[in-house]
Symmetry: C2
Subunit: 263 residues, 2 copies
């Protein structure tokens, strides 16, 4: 009986679109890879794959093999959102397994360059878990990267939290379903394809919005939600049309309440 | 009348204790600095100033001047927590103003190496605002760094969020005052000097704890809160005693509820 080859999977956070978002640790991990998997997400998002190729071209010494693969597409028509996501993860796990088995039949180190940070609204860790459950001898190492939350606040030069207060990180879907979360003054919204901020009564809320963070065509807009929200919706629609895709995020801050509430 | 010299202040996130947490962007910014301010936080935390010196020694070409200063101490006996913090920020602003005026009388670029990310539970942006309000011609640029939230999840190789769900980032003080936040399954706690997780009914909660993230003496502990909480409290007390200081953080995850709640 053959021994199961051991795979070390390195999930390397690369930030959100600027090659200099990489940490020294990420570069070191990339250099140790035997195989780098590059997902292709369709022509619309071609510049995302291109960024990964550029990162590899800059930092690899030509030792690691680059293997591209077409990322399966999520069925957004699935009757329940989470069912659609689960099926999508299963499909991606199957592609990873095939490419790793072909590329590293004797085992070795495989790297995936993860947009943003591998811990935040990213499926790589869940997909790796599926491979482990299916019997692959897989060790996972996470090398953190800058997330869009940090790049958003840095671009606007604002603190994430108000003094000593909590911050909620959430999705457009959750904000739309639940409205403004009780007792909080700062909410960061990611994965929002449809300007969920429009469901909020805008009075007393400031919005800090960004798209294509770190890229040459980065967009920033900030101001009172009442007047700035419609401008963002229009700018976003135009940019999405022009580039074929968009990735954006925003921070919502409710005006200071009485200090008694700050605990 | 003399023109007011223009100061460019670069707040550079450096991660949490490993020199390779630095991004290429952070290194580039550091190299552009004319003056680097290094805060000294007392003998107990001497290794934090030492890390900053090491980062400068590695990446600076000897052009920038390093200026150390003793960080004013926060009055933790102030009758109200936020009052104590405000007075502390005013004292720090006065020291920055003095060191910048002395070090860059004609203006120029000053860098501060910020632990973690400059946007998250860090006072630098608020202190810079005080200087602007006091009339200093100060432009602020934020270069994001890895935060302990990311290093914590990376060290445990866990996702920050559960599938499609929200995450609360909060402080020990807030957790102690408010208990488990309604409707959430993930809470990350920072700035907790006294194991606030002990106030929670531990049933159904997992804890992922870390101290000295990225440092040679990094500590990790994870498991059910009921059995792991007391072990963390003991380990934390011993480590704090041994090193003279501790910086720790943890993620609390409530067990999966019915998928209907994940909406």
């Amino acid at each position: 009986m053959d021994a199961i080859p051991t795979i070390e999977l390195m999930l390397i956070g690369i930030g959100t679109g600027h090659p200099e978002h990489l940490t020294l640790q990420a570069i070191g991990a990339l250099k140790r890879a035997d195989l780098v998997l590059i997902p292709r997400k369709g022509a619309d998002k071609a510049d995302l794959a291109e960024l990964r190729r550029e990162v590899c071209a800059t930092h690899l010494d030509g030792q690691a093999r680059l293997v591209e693969f077409d990322l399966p597409v999520r069925d957004s028509a699935a009757s329940r959102y989470l069912d659609g996501v689960q099926a999508w993860h299963a499909a991606i796990a199957a592609v990873w397994a095939e490419r790793i088995a072909t590329g590293l039949p004797q085992g070795g180190r495989v790297a995936l360059l993860v947009w943003g940070d591998p811990s935040l609204y990213d499926s790589s860790l869940r997909i790796a878990e599926r491979l482990q459950s299916a019997g692959m001898a897989l060790r996972v190492e996470v090398i953190p990267g800058l997330s869009s939350v940090q790049l958003l606040t840095a671009a606007h030069a604002i603190p994430l939290n108000t003094l000593g207060a909590s911050v909620l990180i959430t999705t457009g879907r959750q904000l739309r379903a639940g409205g403004w979360p009780a007792g909080l003054d700062t909410v960061v919204v990611l994965l929002d394809g449809a300007c969920a901020f429009q469901v909020l009564p805008p009075e007393g809320i400031e919005i800090y919005w960004a798209a294509y963070l770190g890229m040459p065509h980065q967009l920033l807009l900030a101001g009172p939600l009442a007047s700035t929200g419609p401008r963002i919706a229009a700018l976003r629609a135009g940019a999405r049309e022009a580039h074929g895709w968009i990735m954006d995020s925003y921070l919502l801050r409710r005006s200071a309440r009485s200090p008694a509430g700050a605990g």
